[in-house]
Symmetry: C2
Subunit: 258 residues, 2 copies
């Protein structure tokens, strides 16, 4: 089977126009089939503030009422996604923007209300690879924003890490999939103040002890859940670090193993 | 050659959520390959007002500065396009959203500044049918918003009628193309106050006299330029009217002939 790289970008790479431009130029040069996944949190918050729409976060997750879903759809699928597609084309990377509704690719259900009502937030139930695969086979790079749909006409805000992980798992049926989570840190760090204190391997054995030592906290916890979910479901390689891990063979980063 | 319907919707069909829902349900039932094209003018103006961004129109055309281009990208490619894709999927029509940047499908140049600087407005120079055709051949319906790109990373606001017309012309190489401009009127009218005074045929012969009689004015003038451009360039059928012309064989509308 051919190797497919599924690359999720977040944090500073999205928030800084300059960093994004550099990343997309490098990304365009990557050989072989590839899928890009992005969120875009800070820009959505910025627009919500401008429009006097309250931003509500619970446990680090955005509560998505109707007005917030609109903002997210405008920012993620509109401004960020189309800006990225235009930039990729300028770099001769033929790309195609996706929400989960496009090609009926990612179907989710509105998260059931338990203690907290997260609103229009989707939990993924099915990934259809047909349209993405059709494009990949024609040298077109799918670029996914963090929106899915419920197949009944409702768009749903969905965590970009989870989208990347579920895409990787679904495409693992037809490709050797490598999954990369790129952000501003070089990986999972032993010492949050030391950028070079990278934990190079995390596996089921040392994971629990890393949590107990307090080395995996906040946003890193759900990210690692997504990592383990992927590696346990047929994804061949799962890595967390800066985008350098994609382009520089000598760079260090965190690899997640079973 | 197979018949391809290129359908542009504008006016009330876009501005009313209910009308759009009904249209998309009907559209989903249309047999055979089809392409949908939409703008979304009023919603963009609404968001610009909310954000205190000045809306500047010259000769009925929107002047597109950087802030306006952002709004248009968010509304057209984000809110409207993704809402439509989700609704089409709910109607079992497998659809895929496009800006002109996606699949490098519509390349334009920023309109040269003569008397008026329209800002980030694009004039189409090339249409690539490959990605659209790939999807059509796999029963996926492309849905285009009114944005193109210059292949150098710049998105450009582009008239939706012109996009529909240029797509129709490009696809005429591989399909028998029928082009439909749908809006709230039943066609070009003899008497603006009489909805049933439809001019059923407009051709090069009666066109000039219709203009001289003052029956073709304002937005209808550029629309008819797009119509004639299509019919003179290998598009088999060009019609203007309500969406009823697509679904009801007995309905009346305006047909443009050479």
């Amino acid at each position: 089977m051919e190797t497919l790289k599924v690359i999720k970008i977040g944090g500073n790479i999205i928030d800084s126009q300059d960093a994004l431009k550099v990343f997309l130029a490098d990304f365009s040069k990557l050989k072989g089939p590839k899928i890009l996944v992005h969120g875009g949190g800070k820009l959505a918050t910025k627009l919500a503030n401008k429009m006097n729409i309250e931003v509500k976060m619970i446990e680090g997750r955005r509560v998505t009422d109707k007005a917030t879903l609109e903002i997210i759809t405008m920012i993620y699928a509109g401004k960020i996604n189309k800006g990225m597609i235009a930039e990729l084309q300028a770099n001769k990377c033929n790309a195609m923007g996706f929400s989960g509704a496009d090609g009926n690719t990612i179907i989710s259900i509105k998260r059931p209300v338990k203690k907290i009502d997260f609103g229009f937030v989707g939990d993924i139930v099915k990934v259809n690879t047909e349209t993405g695969n059709l494009l990949l086979n024609n040298n077109i790079t799918p670029v996914f924003c963090a929106i899915t749909h419920d197949a009944n006409g409702q768009l749903l805000n969905t965590n970009a890490d989870t989208i990347a992980s579920e895409l990787a798992i679904a495409f693992a049926d037809i490709f050797n999939v490598e999954l990369y989570f790129c952000f501003e840190k070089k990986g999972v760090l032993k010492d949050i103040n030391d950028d070079d204190s990278i934990i190079e391997k995390i596996n089921s054995k040392n994971y629990q002890s890393l949590i107990e030592q307090g080395l995996i906290v906040d946003g890193m916890l759900p990210k690692l859940v997504n990592c383990f979910n992927a590696i346990k479901n047929n994804v061949k390689k799962v890595c967390v670090g800066t985008s350098e891990m994609l382009f520089n063979p000598n760079s260090k980063f965190t690899t997640i193993e079973i």
